[in-house]
Subunit: 252 residues, 2 copies
Amino acid sequence: MKLALVKLGGSVITFKDRPLAANTGAIDDISRVLAGLDMPLMVVHGGGSFGHHWSVQYDMHTRPAAYDPHGVAVVHESMLALNEIIVNSMIKAGANPYAIVPSAFTNGHDAVPAKIKQLYEMSKTVVPMTFGDVVYMGGRKYSILSGDSLMSIIAKVLRPSRVIFATNVDGIYRDMASKEVVKELRPGRAGAVEFSKVNGADVTGGMQRKVREAFKIASMGMDVVLVNGLHPERIAEAARGRVDGTVVRRYK
Amino acid sequence: MKLALVKLGGSVITFKDRPLAANTGAIDDISRVLAGLDMPLMVVHGGGSFGHHWSVQYDMHTRPAAYDPHGVAVVHESMLALNEIIVNSMIKAGANPYAIVPSAFTNGHDAVPAKIKQLYEMSKTVVPMTFGDVVYMGGRKYSILSGDSLMSIIAKVLRPSRVIFATNVDGIYRDMASKEVVKELRPGRAGAVEFSKVNGADVTGGMQRKVREAFKIASMGMDVVLVNGLHPERIAEAARGRVDGTVVRRYK
């Protein structure tokens, strides 16, 4: 599908070292850039110092469990609050965002393909926006469904022409000492995927989950791009096919 | 199902004569009362001076049409903003609200029964909250799906033990001059339902849509209660089966 699927990492849109602090400067810059894109667009964002902060406080994880209902309420509310900030910024920039909770197109962690296809249809008139969230898993159980996981869930159904992860670093580093960005990763050639050492690249810490999802999506036959969202023009450039960051090449 | 399904009217939670003005006093009072209920609860709210205000500005209606996408974004955002205020008030009161956009359990204006049943399951741990909204109808079309319509959609699937509409008046008036509240309406006996003159009651203006939905739900075999939400204890009392307002009796 001609579609840019963009993940805005929590490290870009919030200050992760301070609770409930949105990086409104970065959000406004990104909104302006995204409002200028002339192709269907869908946005997923992370929780950063909002949802992620509270999920840690309430000891909630991706594993389904009977978490404290007050934690469920607080984590969910905080994601809606962060989402509101981004949605308002997008509207101010002249875009037409339309926020949708992930449970509108998932059942637990599973895709509801018909609903995801509807999001694509909507992307011709508005910008569907969703986010990592705490979702219902049946019984008294809930679970954290991360923004990164949502990228795989959506990409699998829609096969977007551009899959872009915006983080707070320039891409995947060759190693932490040089911080040289690996332009291209070909996980297919590497055989078994070993995340901490991919084609000689050093993938550690917060980046690991993103790279895991990027590899997963690449294994479905789509190129995946990782760029620095604190340079928002790189998101737009990546949507146009010019990558200043890391491309994880599709394989299958 | 043992469940209180409560609609908070826009006239209760907002000041309808002023744009984007939440009645935070009324909201906080209602939250305290709802937080004290010891039964499964689900809340639907209207748009009032938020969504309703903008939908008028952008000339958007229940009829599906290719409305201005910026209007779609603004109406939806304003509903999320109002919802946030209520959700935060509920959390402050010690309840565990969990907001869900109506498109999570509807397709256009049609129910998705499996998802609505899931809301009931969730009501054992959290308070599912939803609201009148602008929803996607396919192609480039959108439509307003009112909070009142959502009451019928949800009631039909879940058959809640209590269906309560909280408005800014004491119930359905016998006539506008005396403002005497009709304690009980038996639409079944009235034969064909004529909304402007039901069993001698005077049903005009904003009340008309509520009464139409109330009759629709009553025709599915459930009693429906209309109480004054500006006296929030009446909502709690109605949930406990003691009505200070109007009961529309079930018929079938």
